[in-house]
Amino acid sequence: LGPSSLFSKVTANAAELEREQQGRVALRERYLRSLLAMVGRPVSFTMYEKVSVTALFGASDIDVLNFQVSELQTPLGVQKEAVLRCSDIVAYSFEL
């Protein structure tokens, strides 16, 4: 799992902290909604070492450390179900 406390520079000032928390909420909500929109769609993953794979996105854990995917197209064939470690991924993309 990820760190249990999140990085913050403004803990001394209550008003600043409130503003930072509101910013965090807005950013996080949009990101979580993007994950929802991605469910069931074909997603291309660019991995390290110039590896590119596509798969149907299934789910992510809350810390965004792993993605569960289906029908993973690899150079060695199609993997029915798989978990991708996000630390191995450089970028991913899909169409809306």
Binding site: G2, L6, F7, S8, K9, V10, R19, E20, Q21, G23, R24, A26, L27, R28, R30, Y31, R33, S34, L36, A37, M38, T46, Y48, E49, K50, I62, D63, V64, L65, C86, S87, I89, V90, A91, Y92, S93, F94, E95, L96
Partner: protein
């Protein structure tokens, strides 16, 4: 942790609705409008309008982000478009 991962939510918020160029690990380059930055993983979510009217969504993972350069700021029409991309139908109707 990279400099990008260490930024605070308020710093990430300044990138939202801006067109940026992102330099990622292994010299990968991405360009698009910033939809959000996940405050947990620092993943940066970009939208790139396609000619067929669809939207291409890319995410560069926080650990792979090396540099983010702001190119332009979105006009009101683009901001509206970006804000509604992942909103569920019923919320879209409420906000109109």
């Amino acid at each position: 942790m990279t400099a990008w991962q260490k930024k605070t939510p308020l710093e990430w918020l300044t990138y939202v609705n801006k067109e940026v160029g992102v330099l990622a690990a292994e010299k990968h380059k991405y360009q698009g409008w910033v939809l959000t930055v996940d405050p947990v993983s620092a993943n940066i979510l970009l939208a790139h309008p396609l000619e067929n009217g669809k939207m291409s969504i890319s995410a560069v993972l926080g650990h792979a982000v090396q540099d983010v350069e702001i190119l332009t700021e979105a006009d009101d029409e683009m901001k509206e478009k970006l804000a509604h991309l992942f909103m569920p139908e019923e919320m879209r109707r409420c906000s109109q």
